[in-house]
Symmetry: C2
Subunit: 423 residues, 2 copies
């Protein structure tokens, strides 16, 4: 019987591992609690009504349809029993393994304030993106019907907590929507006067980028009318806004919509491995990405704390795919009786969009900003998107959005607890 490899998670890490193991002398079971892989770097475009969920997602089962030694299951892993070598699912199902790759990613975390989640949703899944989209679009509809001037200003204020790529990308797109897409569609409000505030606790937005690119991003955001508050902490969040603290100064920003793009924490499954975890809940891994004392169990991507130049690898695509590829290759080496090798991360660079036709890109050997950065971003994201159909449709959506300023997916659907209006 060939060894059984269980991969938990169908994100960038899990898929990369499955691809390395396809056609090799192992049986693979990939389990995910969703039926689809999501292209997370474009989630913010679903949240801001540019793209439809179907444009940036594909069924995991379809992606791996030609991998005859890979079985795809829909299921939610609750615990790992590293001694019994088995994964237990929430519905009681059990998957026994010879090798395990944990690629379960991270959720947003609220720094010990879980009560903030209701008022400041985060962005990790398609369902999260639909909640954000609903809240953003409802804010304008409510403002249109609001007769009280102060409340109307509040409804037209958007606070983004966190000045990393997600916060900046959301802010830039919101600026374009309010300044262009929605202008002239409302009779009582002027959407171009909407206030957009990015709050960053650290000394700079986009901390992972070099100084000159951060300056370029700040200039772009300023031109879009986005307020950037650096060195500023959020001390409370409720349904009507946020309290900020900068040094000794405190400030209240009345805002109808607050969106979370700050802390993340590794998936709770990691805790059940029984190994040391860091403050963000990530498993501290060995040099080959296995966990201490269990060379057959690997943790990759956002769920792992792997130090690179003294810092844990960031929660983006490259560390996840490279780590998962390494873990899968290590499994194949061990199946062949070879020794594992240490994981070496290759930093391929860093990109972020800062509004219409403007992006920053740091590829190490070269840096771009503005239009060239944007074209590089566009090319890379289309090339990496899974599925021919998705590429074509996304290109059309972007072309239409660019030329007409319109958005293809301005739908308010579903409902969440705190926005049961007006249904």
């Amino acid at each position: 019987m060939v060894p059984h490899v269980v991969v938990i998670g169908g994100g960038f890490g899990g898929l990369a591992a499955a691809r390395v193991l396809t056609g090799k002398p192992v049986r693979v079971t990939l389990v995910d609690r969703r039926n689809h892989h999501v292209f997370q770097p474009l989630l913010y475009q679903v949240a801001t009504a540019t793209l439809s969920p179907g444009d940036i997602a594909a069924p995991i089962r379809w992606i791996l349809r030609k991998a005859s030694n890979v079985r795809v299951l829909l299921g939610d892993a609750r615990t790992v029993d590293v001694v019994g070598r088995r994964v237990v699912l929430t519905d009681g199902g059990v998957l026994e393994y010879d090798f395990l790759i944990v690629a379960t990613g991270a959720r947003h975390a609220y720094f010990g304030h879980p009560e903030w989640e209701e008022h400041a949703p985060g962005l990790k899944t398609l369902d999260d993106a639909l909640v954000m989209r609903r809240r953003i679009l409802l804010a304008f509809e409510r403002a249109e019907r609001e007769e009280d001037g102060a409340r109307r200003l509040e409804l037209l204020t958007f606070v983004l907590v966190g000045g990393g790529p997600t916060g900046v990308e959301l802010a830039g797109t919101l600026a374009e929507i309010t300044r262009q897409t929605l202008r002239n569609e409302f009779k009582s409000i002027d959407t171009t006067r909407a206030r957009i505030v990015v709050v960053e606790a650290g000394s700079s937005i986009l901390a992972s980028f070099p100084d000159d690119l951060r300056d370029a991003a700040r200039t772009s955001l300023g031109r879009l009318g986005v307020e950037v508050r650096e060195n500023t902490m959020v001390t409370s969040i409720d349904a009507h806004g946020v309290d900020l603290m900068s040094g000794d100064a405190v400030e209240r920003v009345a805002a109808g919509t607050t969106l979370w793009a700050a802390g993340v924490a590794a998936s709770p499954l990691v805790k059940t491995l029984g190994v040391p975890i860091d403050r963000a809940g990530r498993a501290v891994v060995e040099s080959d990405l296995s966990i201490p004392g269990r060379p057959e169990v690997f943790v990759v991507g956002d769920a792992a704390a792997f130090l690179h130049r003294g810092e844990p690898l960031p929660g983006v695509v490259q560390p996840a795919t490279q780590g998962a590829t390494h873990a899968a290759q290590t499994i194949l080496r061990r199946v062949r009786g070879e020794m594992p090798r240490p994981f070496v991360y290759r930093d391929l660079g860093n990109m972020a969009i800062v509004g219409r036709a403007s992006a920053i890109a740091d590829l190490g050997w070269i840096r771009f900003s503005g239009l060239i950065g944007w074209l590089a971003w566009l090319f890379l994201h289309i090339a990496k998107l899974i599925g021919f159909r998705n590429r074509v449709v996304v290109l059309i959506e972007w072309a239409v959005a660019y030329v007409t300023f319109q958005r293809g997916a301005r739908l308010i659907t579903g409902n969440d607890r705190s926005t049961k209006w007006p249904q």
Copy 2:
């Protein structure tokens, strides 16, 4: 002050009325509880994962952006006070009117069995379609993990209650998905053996079509492996299937997924008008579509019972747009001091899709079936879809689906009460 016309509903009727009134000497307020218009004839394609919600919907506000005398509001009308001439919204808002057009459509209705809804969702809104999509896709995922043979067969059985166009279109698409799209993607189940049953209480499916087209449809469905049960009543529905009765014979069909495409009832707002309603809750209207004794209040589309050749007009697009156009024109006549004219319905025909490259179309003077019917259907639906972007994207989705058998929107998102699995 020019007269104020309130239009309730942004479906085909409400939009047609707003268009007639655009630029005319009236102020118009269109209120809908959703921010988007839905192209309902294609809802079944969202339910079956071919199209994304954004492909068949457009923001009402955007559709009417150039209509400077039309205001669009998001709000849920609860009651009409015909004496005080005002509409009261669920959030307490009030809209006073000089003329009112009620175009609130219909919901599915369960013939006195509201408890069936949980087990047999219907299809009237985008949210309904996403619930159906979730249930259909989950059925296969559950079957893949099911070890009990009988239960697996149950999960691979789909019952469509109602043999009208929606039931037939859902059945045909389900057949294509199970026979083509999903084959080879599962390791434990053979999706091509899924059972699809259409149950029709009347003597024939597609009762509104002539005999020869119904025969053609029955042949098409048979070729697709769809079981058609005519003269068969559903006597109960639960989570594990349906009970059927045909004459004296009773039968239990074990089915994991039951979908409702049978009865509808007019929106409950109609009751608050205080006029006679028929069994389906529709207002009985005068010859000009106004309600008895209130010449300034009109009811159109699915919410009205207007007799044409002795039968109420069916709940499809043409009666809604023609009726709303007539009501709006009648308002303009009255503003000009002219007499109202009676509404005369022009029957432009009837179409239904019955699987891949096959449809039936009855245009009165000519009938099509098979490929030519399908091309006619395709052309008409693309032409009527609102928004250039939507037309292009839908054409691409259809081309990809036709050539590759793949579906662009196979995503399980959201959750509803009875399918909290496996989260």
